[in-house]
Amino acid sequence: MKDLEMRQVYTQTIQGLAEKDQKILALEADLASSMGTSKLKEKLGDRYINVGIMEAQEMSAAAGLAVTGFIPFIHTFAPFATRRSFDQVFLSLGYAKNHAVIVGTDPGVTAEMNGGTHMPFEDIALMRVIPGNNIYEVSDPYQFKAILTYAHTAKGLFYIRTIRKQAKSLYNEKEDFSKGYCRLKKGTHGTIFASGIMVEEALQAADDLEEKGISVQVIDLFRIKPMNEEVVIEAAKLGPIITAENHNVIGGLGSAVAEIIAENHPTKMKRIGVKEQFGQVGKLDYLKEVYGLKANDISKAMIDLLK
C-alpha cells in the first residue's frame, strides 16, 4: 500500500467493503474524476450514485437512503462537505441520527491551486459542534483504510478529512488505531500533537529539537472527536504541548486539546495552525511557509515554551 494515493485507498476500501455488504452505497457530487472513483461506478453499478453538483441534496438524500437501511459513503471536497452543506449535515444526518460516512478531501492548504474559495480551514470546527459526530483527520493509507472500515460497522455520523494524493506511510497493516492516537516518537520534555499532513512536520521538528538536546514525543492525534482525553492529560503532566494542524487554530485540533488541558491539567501550550487568515492560491510548500505550518515553526514554538 506504500505507494498508493489516498484516493486509491478510498476507492479500494469502499469497493472491498461493498463487495461484502450490499447495503453500502457510494455518493459523489460530480467529483469522480478528481477522486478517481469511476472504478466504483463500474464495480458498484446502481450502488454508486453521482448526484451532480448539488451537495445539499447529496447530504439530505443520503439521509433518506440511510432511512431505508443503506450505509452511504459520501464524498466531496471538504469545504462543500461542511460549510456549504452544514445545515443538511447537521439536521438530516446528525440530528436525525442517520448512519453515514462523509469523506472531505483537499483540506486546508492541500487545496493548493484551487485557492481560497476551496481552502477549508474551518471544516473541523464546524463538524465538532455537531453532537455525537465522529471526526478523523487521517495521515496515512493504512490508517485511512482502518477508519473507513471501522466507520462501516459503527453507527452514527462520521467525518473523515483526507488529502487525495500520496501520503507517506507511517504505519503498517498491524497498527492498532482503536485508541484514536498513535505515538510515533517518545520524548521526555514535552509533546507535539499533530494530524494529517502536519504529522510529517512534527516528526521533522522533533528531530531538529533532538539535535539541540530537547526530547519531545510526537503523537498523531487523528481522532479529533471523541478525542482521547487520557493521552492529552498525560502529555500535560509531562510538560509543554504544541499542537500542529492544517486548519484554523480556532475550533480544530488545537482548540480541542486546549479545552481538555484547561479543564483537567493546565499547562503551557501553543497552537500551530492558520490564524486570522483566508486561503489563497499557491504550491503546498509555499502555503505551508505563508501560514506558519513548517517544522521550524513547531520547533521554535517548543523552544519558546521550554524557556
Binding site: 446502481d46 448539488m54 441534496q57 438524500a61 433518506g64 432511512v67 443538511q88 436525525a96
Partner: protein, 276 residues
Amino acid sequence: MDIQKFADQIRYYTMRELDHLGFGHFGGSLSIVETLAVLYGKVMNVSAEKRDDPDRDYFVLSKGHAGPALYATLFLKEYFDEAFLFSLNQNGTNLPSHPDRIKTPGVDMTTGSLGQGISAATGIAKGNQLLGKENYTFAVVGDGELNEGQCWEAFQFAAHQKLDHLIVLIDDNKKQLDGYTTDICDPFDFVEKMRAFGFNSWRVNGRDVSAIEAAIDQAKKGKGAPTAIVLDTVKGQGVPYFEELMDNHHIRPDEATKIAIKESIESLAKKIEVKQ
C-alpha cells in the same frame, strides 16, 4: 373509511392540539388536512403495526411546521395515545412542533429546515428503488418552501433517477409567513415548472378528497418519472375564520380568535359526533 369524515377528525384534533398549546402553525397545518386524510385513510400502505415493515409506504412532511396536522393523523391511526398528542411542545416532549423520526412513532423523517425533507424523500424513494420494492414515498412540500433552492436540486435528482414511486404533493395555499407567495417571490406556474423539471404534474382541488385520491391513482400509472400533484388549497382551510384571517401562518390568538377557535372546535365536534 369515509375519507371526508376522517379529514374532519384530523381537523378537529389539529385544532384541539393547537388550542391546548395556545399558539402555533394553524394555517399551514389546516391546508393539508384533506391530503393527509386521503394518504393515511385510503392510499398509503401504513399502520402502527406495520412500522417496521420495509414494504410499507413512506411519508415525509417536508413542510415540517405542519407537524400538528400529521400528529393528529398519527394519533387517529393509533400510533400513540391522546396524552401523547397533547404533549405537543411541552417541556421534555416527544412531540416537537417539527417532526422528529427518533422521538415520534410514525414519523419517517426529521424535517423542519425547509427543503431538506424533499431531498430525504428522494433518498428514501431511491433506496426503495434500489431494493426493487414497489412501495411509494409521499412528500408534502409547501409552496413557500419551494423558495428553497435545495428543493430544485431534489427535483432534478428525482427526475434523473426516474423515481416513479415518488409522489410529491405541493401544498399551494398561496401564502407564506410574510404574505402572499406571489408578492414575496412569485412562484409562477408550479405545474409548468414541474413538467419542465421532468415530472408528471397537474393541479387538483386540495379541498376535494376524491379529487386528491383520483390524482394519486393517476400518479401511480406514470412510469419512468416522478409525479408532482399541485394541490389548490387555502391556508387555514376548513376553518372559515382562519381562511379569512390574513396573518394565519403562526397564530397567537387574541380574544376574538380564541372565541373563533372554540366555536370551530365545537362545530367540528358536532360534525364528527364527538361529545365535548
